[in-house]
Subunit: 454 residues, 2 copies
């Protein structure tokens, strides 16, 4: 059914690569103000490609670099509406001296195309556009599509939440397809069906109003640094479980099928040791490293500061102590609920003699899609059709804030489907995109859209 | 018996004050190299006063500023030999703008003499020299005396240990009289019969070889900052007692008499709250604040550092975590034993996945004298004779390293007897010496020496 479109894609690989190279030449670095013109140039580049596809692309001012929006709803009411999310901004390139070739003059070396933004994520945008083009030029686009391509992902999607809220109707869809994603290995097709959320806190304790001499006052007063350490120590039990009240209440437990799928991934405990450099792993008992890092919630100290930290000794009883603590959350935990829980923990456990403040510095919800949903099945079938191997089901330990935003603002789930690789040097020198994956990506999107419509 | 000497002192108060002002004009700041000539000047000033007393003072090179030594053994074998310890160096004066008068131009305002070094501790040295002069000029000096007056106390008595070891015979004595001390209040004569020791540690934990992303690795690896906090938390039990193995084994417990004496000091828990600014006190259960701060051992965090401590959040799993931890020790705890104990604690409790190092940065033994010893009784009687009130028995929470050194090198106990006040602004702007205490100090030393010989 998608044969003609696949043949079209096959016959137009060179021009697809040329198009990718073309957008990669635009240094759309969102964090550097001097690149503002490049932001507009990249947005316009996409709009110029949307128009011939019949999408009526436009740049919408959302407070920062423009949001590119374009839709084609010609598949009619019987076909699903897909919101395709991507971003056209890229990370800075420093240290430039570590790049083998110019980050904004794309260069093919072996099977890879090297350029800033190749994998993260202009390559994924072009792959999807080229899949749409192949369908349009052959059997017709079988689904309704709305493109939402922002220019602020690398700087925290500052204005996206507001934009989503203000454009709820425009963006209404059956699900979001986030193509800012990847597979587990070049020959291992995989589908990320869950990502973790986060709640990041700063805890500040204060004891006596000023630092005191430990000889004179040591023993008489409550030392906030002692207290902070003890409180953090009490945040885990001896099984490595988090003790904040109700922390696990909303945690979706892993099914036997999921555990077996995760166990079959090429991510043994030895792999985690190699990746982290940690000779010994550890954490919540009863779970593998892959489960602990992707499917179980955590609580980690990210920073500690109190008292004297220079060379040698100073006999000070610190007046203050601070910890940065983040929790990685899994479905269906709510970061605001975790905040409440941490406050309840402090309320109950902080002793007289210290005052405390807890600020939540960041919050993002976790997300999971139903592996049996139409879109997830279509994605898995598409991957298998292209790679000739069944897709693996994986979860990601990191957080993709936009997924939570879209779930909250538009009330739809996000399917992550993209073709980057773990070694693509995202955010680092010599970013690359594995070209066989670029072309397989186009084919996968063709299969996916065709299969969705069927 | 000491009436004549007391009368002499009474009649020479003005010249005693002039002598004190004279030495206070020498800016003998040991920590500032540009004051090296002043160090020699201060040493020579004392030597010049020892000679007419018959003491053959001399400056001995010990590697830093000279040590002043002078002895008079004319009281014969039947009389005790007292090693009088003091120091002629003083603290820096900054912030100079906070001084009401020039720190090195002594000024009497009301009952106080203001100058750097007035209370810490040139005033105490002159008081003792003037007591000796009064005895020599009247009834004769009834005891054998060796003066040991160093110039490095304010910078850690760097060369004193070596000097003591090298001059064991020269310094042989029955006990040391350390006049670098004070009383509890202007109208409250008191005797410090015990001081705490210290063992100061730096603990460094290391997990994976580099910082890791908490989204990718959080849950899989052992976070050294989590571990450090938990370990510190485990160092106290829920009664506020230190859990290092054997920590209390050598602790001399407080007798009922001691507890009653400490309870009668004008240092209620309210007083400790006021002094520290801490609204709520806390610590080891079953002891008063005075007991906890002066007669019980402690373990306190002095500093904590790990990971990201700037503004906002960074999702880092720190590779390293560091704590400065000090224990205040009481007789008969041994700092080296505590070091071993901490290492045993770490050995037992640190999990796989972190490596650790413990360095002892400072060690000083605690000290206690027998309140029924001849010298302690003589001191208490002298205080009562001069003030007309019984002396209070108190303990100090701070550490006086030289006391430990002298105990270790010369194998004698130290009696602390001096006349500073808690509000003398030691190490701070507007240091002062309470002049009535200066003169009572001379009288007390006269009584003390006379009584000792009796």
């Amino acid at each position: 059914m998608s044969k003609k479109a696949l043949d079209y894609a096959q016959g137009n690989r060179e021009s697809a690569l040329d198009e990718l190279k073309s957008i990669l030449r635009i240094p759309s670095i969102s964090t550097l103000p001097e690149h503002a013109p490049d932001m507009s140039a990249a947005a316009n580049w996409i709009i110029d490609r949307l128009d011939p596809l019949g999408f009526q692309g436009r740049a919408i001012d959302a407070g920062g670099p423009p949001v590119v929006y374009g839709d084609w709803l010609g598949a009619g009411a019987g076909a699903p509406v897909i919101l395709v999310y991507g971003h056209y901004d890229v990370q800075p390139v420093d240290p430039l001296e570590l790049w083998v070739s110019d980050p904004f003059e794309p260069e093919v070396r072996g099977n890879n195309l090297f350029a800033r933004g190749a994998s993260d994520m202009k390559g994924q945008i072009i792959a999807h556009l080229k899949a749409v083009e192949a369908l349009k030029e052959t059997t017709g686009i079988p689904v309704n599509i709305k493109y939402l391509i922002e220019g602020e992902e690398e700087i925290g999607s500052t204005h996206l939440g507001e934009f989503l809220r203000a454009n709820e109707d425009l963006l209404a869809c059956d699900f979001c397809l986030n193509v800012d994603s990847g597979v587990i290995g070049p020959e291992t097709p995989s589908l990320t069906y869950a990502i973790r959320g986060m709640a990041y806190f700063e805890i500040r304790l204060e004891g006596p109003p000023g630092d005191l001499h430990s000889g004179i006052f040591g023993g008489a007063i409550v030392n906030p640094a002692n207290v902070l350490a003890a409180l953090i120590g009490e945040m885990h039990d001896d099984q490595g479980r988090v003790t904040l009240p109700g922390f696990y209440d909303d945690v979706l437990s892993l099914s036997d099928q999921e555990r077996s799928d995760l166990a079959s991934l090429p991510q043994s405990d030895e792999w985690w040791s190699e990746q982290s450099g940690a000779r010994f792993l550890g954490g919540e008992q009863g779970y593998s490293a892959t489960e602990r890092a992707t499917a179980r919630p955590t609580l980690d100290v990210n920073g500690l500061l109190s008292g004297f930290t220079g060379k040698g000794g100073k006999t000070v009883l610190p007046s203050k102590a601070m910890a940065k603590i983040s929790t990685r959350l899994v479905p269906d935990q709510d970061p605001h609920q975790v905040h409440e829980s941490l406050r309840a923990f402090m309320e109950k456990n902080a002793p007289l003699g210290v005052s405390w403040e807890v600020d939540m510095l960041a919050a993002a919800v976790a997300s999971i899609i139903d592996r049996d949903s139409v879109e997830a099945r279509a994605a898995a079938e598409a991957l298998e059709a292209v790679w000739g191997l069944p897709a693996r089901y994986k979860r990601e330990g990191g957080t993709v804030p936009v997924v939570g935003m879209i779930e909250e603002m538009l009330d739809v789930k996000t399917l992550m489907l993209g073709f980057g690789l773990p070694d693509d040097n995202l955010h680092a020198p010599n970013e690359k995109f594995h070209l066989p994956n670029f072309h397989r990506g186009i084919d996968t999107f063709i299969h996916f859209m065709t299969s969705l419509a069927a």
